[in-house]
Symmetry: C2
Subunit: 218 residues, 2 copies
DNA sequence: AAAAAATTTTAGATTTGTCTAAACATACAA
DNA sequence: TTGTATGTTTAGACAAATCTAAAATTTTTT
């Protein structure tokens, strides 16, 4: 078995490699793990010894199959527990991330499958993220961030890419929750803030916010 | 916050002090924690520094109020999670102990209270152990072990004091589960094995088994 | 292509929890 | 009450995960 720390490194590397095809760099991992680059280097050696990552000095890392399987397993647990907390225990979507960070390390394959069944095999978690199935598969996503869209574009809010309570509460106050249909009315040259049409109302959101909203856009 | 290890020490000390009024000894803790006496001594110093135990060299330890509160909190979580696993996820009573050992360290007061509510404020866990309430209170138990009873005595199986899957499966095979009424027909001088009357049938159980069955006997 | 900047790694230290072996304290028995 | 057995603590080491400071490598700039 792997330590919590090892699991967290794998998860961080997994999430970082979602955004790029190239190897994940030490500094990026250090940021994600809120630790120092020197500590990351130490851990990369260990994960490499355990065949969980391919590591080339100074070049960065990629997950091996074994590493990816482990990482996806943790992501699956995290998202299932989030569904449990919201659906069964009446938590709000901004309250569950930190608790799920702990629960994701509970080690029992049977538990995960029973939980999945108990929850009715949910497809997405409360933040709109897809839940990998028992074999680690899930349809590749082709969402784009709101800030990548252009004037006149329409779409549906399908998820977020930031899970802090502060951010999620802010979205809720703005009425920008999952499933909401939005249309881009104007993008300010000055600060990148965006005017949205939501449910007939006009709403102004900062660039900061647009960078963390995922849109299902075709 | 306390580390998992610290929490496990506190829990072990708590359980050991259930059986005796006198201070808990280093070797007993080492047994319970499956570690060495020298390691226990190191940890006792740390717990003492944190005011979780009263520790006198060579004499043993007792929990402080703070230590007891912490320990009971962990026991509460353990037992609530066991109920969840059996009642909601359809685990068997012999499958839940190890998973609950992990879940008991999840850190969220709100989670515990929501879980309690979700489960309908259960009074006992699947092994018959009482679940402390939110304030750590629970009626003092006056169960006795089956091996402490005499010929002709009757009682109800109210719990167990051993949680291994092997033991619990054995009980189930014998039909000795919680709520079952038993009567002692005979106690063998030779090996301490006991003949029980259960539901009209006669059953013979080893002394080993009688030492881990708790009876509500008045 | 050399210099400067950014990134990454090494070296050496620290903390937590563990260990073995040896010393120390207490209990008990002759 | 002295000796032996049992139980406990100290001393010194080790592994995991982290850190700072310095050295090494790669990338970017001029």
């Amino acid at each position: 078995m792997h330590s919590f720390t090892e699991e967290n490194y794998l998860k961080t590397i997994y999430h970082l490699s979602q955004f790029t095809a190239s190897p994940v760099q030490t500094n990026a991992i250090a940021d994600g793990m809120k630790t120092r680059p020197a500590s990351v280097t130490d851990m990369l050696k260990k994960l490499s010894d355990k065949q969980l990552i391919d590591y080339i000095k100074y070049q960065g890392v990629t997950l091996t199959e074994k590493g990816k399987t482990t990482a996806v397993g943790i992501v699956r647990k995290h998202r299932l527990w989030e569904v449990f907390l919201v659906e069964k225990l009446k938590f709000k979507w901004d309250e569950v991330h930190d608790i799920a960070e702990e629960l994701e390390h509970i080690n029992s394959a049977l538990l995960v499958e029973r939980l999945d069944e108990f929850l009715g095999f949910p497809k997405r978690d409360p933040h709109g993220d897809l839940i990998p199935d028992q074999n680690g598969f899930f349809e590749p996503v082709q969402n784009i961030h709101l800030h990548e869209m252009s004037c006149g574009n329409k779409g549906v809010i399908i998820g977020v890419s930031e899970y802090s309570s502060a951010f999620l509460k802010h979205l809720e106050r703005l009425g920008l929750t999952i499933g909401i249909i939005i249309e881009i009315k104007e993008i300010a040259d000055y600060d990148g803030s965006v005017e949205l049409l939501v449910d007939g109302r006009k709403i102004n959101v900062s660039r900061e916010v647009t960078q963390h909203i995922l849109i299902n856009y075709k």
